[in-house]
């Protein structure tokens, strides 16, 4: 892969992105993709416009306007965290497929930037910003304000991508991971200091995004000059940040991915032989999960991020019920939605071993279950630090939510893994277990089902009868159990199993 920048490189890279997009479109389900794109665009337009025309009290619009600068800054922060976790964003063409083509890091960077919206978390945040802006400014200023917000979203995504590439470059130099960890600790300590010394509000009030909001509303207030200045600054900054990202991508591409190479060259201590078939398969599956860079990094971000937000936000037990579903859904997107891809091409050899296929299925379910339980458990424990001692109703609600949503996610994952298996190499931190478009569908479905379930238990947490949560949880558990058994039946069918194995083996 050529890594040197040249004056012709950006235009060539733009053309190459076009070729890759065409290739991806040709190999995907075009009609479905087009329909989904139209729905998302229609939904986004509706969210950006309709709230401006609803009846709303002045004090509510003012409240929303006041938190808008913080929301815009939070969007940038979350985009940066997401970019850092994925090692520079998603790949338009997976690395193992792209090695045969002369694709530059600029192409890779632009492709990753283009794929940014194919992420439900990004879409939900975007919709929240657009909806809040429309609600706050009303019909007169909605057009001008949304132009500024959309440009900010593009700018924040570009900046996050550039920061992510720069961090990836640092991570690839000797000791770089220590530098990044140090910066992470410093950022967390600063946030903690601001919070515990009651300086957080003053800090948030001083954010540069406040000027952005003032610029956004200025057109509606008749101050076209300020609006034009704001838009011009954003329009100028976006290409600069995109270019900075390209430079950082080139710098990163010149170095070896140290995390991945370290894990692949480490000598492992041999352990005693396992005492049962299930334990032997569990050991293999656990190795396939915990020795993969994206899993480690992803689960750390997923477990700690929402937990720390929960601590900072001082969530009560009822509000906390939303967290396990969020984390479990994210965890499943690391590998669970294509669970049979863990062995890669080794699946053929594993299939030739004399073991009951039901044991193979059970081991995979256990590993996915424990992965999601551990991650969401850490989040709940962190968030619980400031929530005080729960009453029996709150405790039952949070425990039932935890169990129910994790089982929901496991059952959905095993179902999808059997229905649409993909051959993927999870070696790279940027790899995903399914193509980007499919991942959007999976994440949307998981987000909707787990959020709705969590809301039910959130309501139950406010009731004094703990038994109610248990009673409500039972049918959810039963449905998930039946679905897992159905996925198991598919796996046990030799014809279906060979379809899955052949697809995963590539």
């Amino acid at each position: 892969m050529p890594t040197a920048l040249s004056s012709t490189d950006p235009w060539r890279a733009v053309r190459d992105v076009g070729h890759l997009l065409w290739f991806r479109a040709a190999t995907g389900r075009r009609r479905v993709s087009r329909a989904v794109l139209l729905i998302v665009l229609a939904l986004t337009t509706a969210i950006a416009v309709v709230p401006a025309f609803v009846e709303r009290p002045d004090e509510r619009t003012l409240d929303v306007l006041i938190v808008l600068p913080t929301a815009l800054a939070a969007f940038l922060l979350l985009s940066v965290v997401s970019g850092l976790a994925s090692g520079g964003g998603r790949e338009l063409l997976p690395r193992d497929q792209g090695v045969a083509y002369p694709l530059s890091p600029t192409t890779d960077h632009l492709g990753a930037l283009l794929l940014t919206p194919l992420n439900v978390a990004w879409l939900v945040q975007t919709w929240a910003l657009l909806g809040a802006t429309a609600y706050a400014v009303g019909p007169a200023g909605v057009f001008g304000a949304q132009v500024v917000v959309i440009l900010w979203i593009v700018l924040a995504s570009s900046a996050a991508q550039a920061i992510a590439w720069a961090a990836e470059g640092v991570r690839r130099v000797p000791g770089g991971h220590l530098v990044l960890r140090g910066l992470g600790v410093l950022a967390a300590a600063t946030a903690g200091w601001l919070y515990f010394t009651d300086r957080l509000s003053a800090f948030l009030d001083g954010l540069a995004t406040r000027s952005l909001v003032l610029g956004a509303v200025s057109l509606g207030e008749g101050n076209a000059g300020q609006w034009i200045r704001t838009v011009a600054i954003l329009l100028l900054a976006i290409p600069l940040l995109v270019a900075a990202g390209a430079v950082a991508a080139h710098l990163a591409a010149r170095r070896h991915p140290r995390d991945e190479l370290r894990i692949e060259s480490e000598t492992r201590t041999a352990r005693k032989a396992p005492r049962s078939d299930l334990l032997a398969l569990l050991r293999l599956d656990r190795a396939s999960v915990w020795r993969v860079v994206p899993m480690r990094r992803g689960i750390m971000v997923l477990a700690l991020g929402p937990g720390l937000v929960g601590v900072a936000g001082g969530l009560d037990w009822a509000q906390m019920t939303i967290l396990p579903g969020l984390v479990a859904s994210g965890g499943a997107l690391l590998f669970g939605v294509n669970a049979w891809c863990l062995e890669g091409r080794g699946v053929l050899w594993r299939e030739s071993l004399p073991v009951d296929p039901s044991v193979v299925f059970d081991a995979r379910v256990v590993v996915l279950l424990e992965f999601l339980l551990v991650a969401s458990g850490i989040t709940v424990l962190l968030a619980a630090l400031r929530a005080g001692v729960p009453n029996p109703g709150e405790l039952a609600a949070i425990l039932c939510t935890w169990l129910v949503v994790v089982l929901q996610v496991v059952s959905a994952s095993m179902r999808w893994s059997a229905k649409r298996p993909f051959a993927v190499d999870l070696r790279s931190a940027r790899a995903t277990p399914a193509p980007p478009g499919v991942m959007v569908g999976y994440s949307a479905r998981l987000a909707v089902s787990t959020t709705l379930t969590s809301l039910i238990f959130s309501g139950l947490a406010r009731l004094p009868v703990w038994e109610l949560s248990v009673l409500v949880a039972l049918p959810f558990v039963a449905v998930s159990g039946v679905r897992v058994l159905r996925a198991r039946a598919v796996w046990l069918d030799p014809e279906q199993r060979v379809r899955i194995v052949s697809a995963v083996a590539g």
Binding site: T269, D277, A280, S288, G346, W349, S352, S502
Partner: protein
Amino acid sequence: MPPPDSRPVVDVRSLHVRFGEVAAVSGVDLQGHAGQATALLGRNGAGKSTTMRVLAGVVPPTAGEVHVAGFDVHTHTLAVKRLVGYCPDVGGLVPRATPWEHLQLAARLRRLDDWEARGRDLLERFELGDVAHRITAGFSHGMGRRLSVVLAALHEPEVLLLDEPFDGVDPIGVEATFDIIGDARARGACVLVSTHLRELAIQACGTVLVMRGGARVATMDAADMHGEDGARAYRALLD
């Protein structure tokens, strides 16, 4: 050639395998005997690997009869898997597990006792002793192939199936694979080797079965495939 009255260890009659609209194998007949090594030769897509996968119990046959050591692969798949040692054509290794962990899993599922000494010996013979505790994701293609042969041979199987065992393998690995095939034949195992490398196939095996378009087109002595004449005969069978 086996004596005419000996019962084949591998007995394939009119094997058909379909994947949706695609017929991967259409009417293969194949017999493999104890102590005999048979090479499957043919162009890409001839059905060699699919036939091997059926014999390994990984792919169920669509039609036809397939017996391994008297067991029907369709109804006694687990019994067949216990008897067979299989080196798949692609990958064949779990990327995040070490060679030793692969051996541990195979030994556990095959109920092997006291396998460690043989496992170490095989790894040394294939020059993989130094990397026994490193995950296989960092292995070269040739190293992966060599480890796949080790895994197939660990339990001294009654039927040894080697699919493209020489692909990308250095001369030392090729020699070690020859030794494995020789050992297997000596102890009375039936060996099937699928490969594109005619010269290596005829060095390792006594019988050659040529496949084309999912079916068998010829079975001949390996000696008849030697040299320029053999190359011409083989070429004629492929066209």
